[in-house]
Each structure stands twice: as C-alpha cells, then as structure tokens.
Amino acid sequence: MASVWRYILAGLGLAALLVGILAAIYLMSPQSASGPDLSRSKKTMNGLFVASFEPERGVVRQGELQSWLLTLKTAAGAPVEGAAIAVSGGMPQHDHGLPTSPQATDYLGDGRYRIDGVKFTMSGWWQLHFGISAAAGSDSVVFNIVL
C-alpha cells in the first residue's frame, strides 16, 4: 500500500516540476512572431501588379488622418498609370470596417497614387483592401497593418 502512495507522490512531484519548467519556458519566451503578413510591398492576388503601400510621411500615427502612397508596377516593373482604385478595409478581429472612407485622390506619377483619409483609431490588426483596375486588367491586394 505504501509503495502506491510513494509512486503517486513521485508522480505528482514530477508533474509539478514539469508544469513549473513549462511555465518558465512560456513566461520567458519572447512573444510569438507569427501573425499576419506585414510586408509593405507584394504581388497582387492574381499577380498582375506589384503593389507597395507606405505612409506618405513615413510614420503611422494612431488616431490621425494620414495620407499613404500606393505604388503600382507591372510584374515587369513598369509604372501602372490611369488605374481606378477602390479602397476598403477594417479590423478582421473586431468585425468592423474602417473609421473613415479613404480614397485615391491624386496620381503623383511613376505609378504612385495618394490614398488620403486613412485613419487607424485603435491599436491592433488592420487590413486595407485595394481593388485595382488598369489597362492590364483588374486585380486586388490586401495589406495588413498592426499598430
């Protein structure tokens, strides 16, 4: 009988030790790096264009209306001119859309379009979807922005 208790106690002790070690590893490990693709330059969904999306002034400020630049090149690297761009987006984890309605307001040459009226009102994972129609055809791209 005593030996059974001995085994149970030993088992409990080892289990506790194991939990302790796991807890230590969990607590000491850096935050997981996996998450949405945060690249600011990528191929559009069907590979028609290469799109880049950057804040016009270089920094993203939460809660401020900002303009961004969407740069469109063909797969061969030529600037895409005369594109019609539809902007939408939101926060996938909160089931809500953007707090503003950003629009492509200016063509700045060299495939660069100003997307004005962009505002991120909270921290977290945001998505901006662009529907792009140009001479080469229509395609779309999604950029993830995490604040």
Partner: protein, 402 residues
C-alpha cells in the same frame, strides 16, 4: 524515496508559484506602454482651428464666454449653453436627457477637451466646435431661438464688442425680427422672403456667434487625476506615493481595462476616446423618438451650411478631411454613437447617449453581458466578468475622477 518525492514536489510547486506570481513584475512592458499612452502628459497641445480664425483670439473667447452664460441667447430669455453645460458640473447637467426649453432626447456631453473632437454631439452631426455651438441655439427643445433674432440681439447688446472682433455688423434694419430656415413656419416664411444677400449677412453674424463661443470652449481642458499621477510614476519607475498609489483592486481594474475587458480598444489615448462611432448594443429609451445615431447624422452634417465645406469656414479646404473622408453608409454606423471620454465619468452619472444607465456598475455589467443591438450589430462581445472583476473596473474608473 517518498521524502525525496515530497521535497521535489514542494520545490516544483514553490518554483511554479514564484514564476507565476510573486516574482512577476506588476505590469508587463506592453501594459506599461499602454498605460503611458493613456496618461494626460501625452495629450498634445491643442492644434489651431484654421476653420475659425478667431479661435485663439482672447477678445473672441471673452465674448464667447459672455454668450455661453447669457440666458438672453434663447427664445424665452432663460436658457443659455450653461443651462445644460453647468460650469461646476464638468459642463454637464446630471440628467438622463438634457432639458432646455423642453426635454431633449440626448444626454448632455461634458466639455473638457471638447475642442479636440473631430465630430460633435453623440452622433457627430456637426464637424466643428463653432458649427456645434449654433445648433442648440435654434433647436426648439434647447434654446429655441432663430438666427435673425440672435443677430438683432447681438447688435443691441454686444454690437461694439462684436465689431471689435469681427468687423462692422451688416445693416439689419430690414431684417425681420424672427426668421430662420429651421424655425417655425412663420420664421421659415420670413427667412424665405429675405434677399439672398441678407440671408448671407445674417448667417455670417450667426457663424461668428458660434466662432466666439468655440473660442471660449477651447479653454476647457481635462485636469490631472490620480490615474495620471500613478501612470507617470509607473513610467519613470518611481514608487507611487500617497494618493498616486493604487489599491490592489484598482490595479486589477486597470489590468482588465487594458487587457481582458478590452475597454482600451475604443477608450484609448490620453482622452480615453478614439473619437469614433460604435454600436455597443446600448438599448433605446422608451418614449423617446427613434434614434439611430451616426447613420442619420451623416446627412445632417452634409446638409449643414456651417460645415467645413460651406461658405463660412475660414482657411482652406485642407482642414475638411474628416468630412470629406467620413464613412457615409454601411452597417457599422447603424445605432453607432461617439466613444465618450472617461475622464471624470465616475462623477457624472447617468451614462450613455440618453442616460440609459444610472451607475458605472450598470455600464460595466452591460459591457460584460454584451446584449445584441436592437438594430445594427453591436461590436461588443460578452466578457463574462466576475463580480470582483466588474467592481475592480469601476474602482479603476474612479481613479479618472479623483
């Protein structure tokens, strides 16, 4: 063997306890960063309002202050801005729905930091502080006046002060005593009979009344609270002393606020607001007119002749981006209301856009339960907070008032 096992077990449990609790710092680096972002010392200085060239003119603010407290700025001579925006009560009135000439359908908003808003009223139906100030003046339930009468009143009572700020008053000798495009049928008829130039003259005086009141309201700013003293000490690594020290309950509440309860998602930044509109499933009040919030305000702000794109804006159109890029449709603006600042909230029940909740406990219980919206979709998801957690959140909110 058995002793070894017991010792090993005890050792492991002690190590676990140490790692899981006692040895852990009170706040993680991420939490500290969030807490710092809420502190009042991160509030930037107030930006100039280019749409109101008188916004920072002391004489305009002084006239605005006079008008703000002047009961003469109403149909019955008894209602001023300060009737609902009471100076000793955070510029609000403690009522579920404001009462001017009659009872309105909305809760009076406090004014601390109001000049920092992009949108005004609970539904954002005005896009500048000066355009906002004009709206209650003609609302039949609030000050119930009309713009022609206000122009005459300004000339009679404050003509000299007005002209020193805004230049010569127009000739009002042929302007009817009472006329407005928004007034009674008689006032509307009188307004429509006025030549366009005269309407414009009266609108200009009216806009300037709003600009003076806005200049005054720009001086109303939030003050430092216990939370701010705590946050500054936390950021600098100083040990909070005296009332800057938080109780364990307040610390739990703060952790929930920025963590599990996700309050900080919308109540962010040093004003605890994202300046945006959300449907959070707050129920309507029986007996009040249909109120769908932001979705109905969009057309109102677009139609307002005093909006940023209208003829009475000073400066250039680059100041009008909020209006230009506003969300005009979509399910997310149905029954959406502005995120209110939480600074001072504990001292000004009742809560929500029509005073639906009498206490902070009711507010927190609402967000914990997250009932479905009666129309549109609530963005809030159930939190199932325990009684202890709900009480902790309320305790934390009180630190924004002390």
């Amino acid at each position: 063997m058995s002793r070894f096992a017991v010792v090993a077990g005890l050792f492991a449990l002690t190590a676990l306890a140490f790692l899981g609790g006692c040895g852990k710092p009170q706040f993680s680096d991420a939490e500290k960063k969030t807490i710092a972002s809420l502190a009042l010392n991160t509030l930037p200085s107030l930006k100039p309002d280019t749409t109101n060239q008188y916004a920072d003119l002391p004489a305009a603010a002084a006239l605005g202050s006079t008008l703000f407290f002047d009961g003469g700025m109403s149909r019955d001579g008894n209602v001023s801005c300060s009737t609902c925006h009471k100076i000793g009560r955070q510029f609000q009135d403690d009522l579920p729905q404001a009462v001017g000439v009659a009872r309105t359908n909305r809760r009076t908003m406090p004014l601390a930091g109001v000049a920092r808003n992009a949108w005004f009223f609970w539904d954002g139906r005005r896009d500048s502080l000066w355009a906002q100030a004009l709206t209650p003046l003609e609302n039949p339930l609030e000050q119930a006046g009309n713009r022609a009468a206000f122009a005459h009143y300004i000339k009679k009572r404050f003509g000299e002060r007005y002209e020193r700020i805004f230049g010569p008053l127009p000739d009002l000798s042929t302007v009817p005593a009472n006329a407005s495009p928004l007034g009674t049928d008689a006032e509307k008829a009188a307004w429509n009979a006025m030549p366009a130039g005269q309407q414009e003259d009266v609108n200009r005086v009216y806009a300037n009344i709003g600009k003076a009141i806005a200049a005054f309201e720009r001086s109303i700013e939030p003050g430092q609270t216990r939370f701010d003293r705590f946050a500054i000490d936390l950021a600098t690594g100083a040990k909070p002393e005296g009332d800057a020290a938080f109780s364990p309950e307040e610390i739990l509440g703060l952790k929930l606020f920025i963590g599990k309860a996700s309050c900080v998602t919308c109540h962010n930044g040093p004003r605890f607001t994202d300046n945006s509109f959300h449907n959070t499933g707050v129920p309507p009040v029986d007996g009040l007119p249909l109120d769908r919030g932001r979705v109905d305000a969009v057309a109102q702000v677009e139609a307002d002749p005093f909006n940023c794109l209208g003829a009475f804006r000073d400066g250039d159109e680059s100041a009008c981006k909020e209006l230009r890029f506003m969300v005009k449709d979509g399910p997310q603006i149905m029954r959406a209301y502005k995120t209110p600042s939480l600074r001072g909230a504990a001292d000004r029940p009742p809560y929500m856009h029509a005073g639906q909740f009498a206490t902070l406990d009711e507010v927190v219980a609402h967000y914990s339960k997250a009932p479905l919206a009666i129309e549109g979709v609530s963005e809030v998801h159930p939190l199932d907070l325990s009684e202890r957690e709900r009480a902790a959140l309320v305790a934390f909110l009180k630190t924004l008032s002390d």
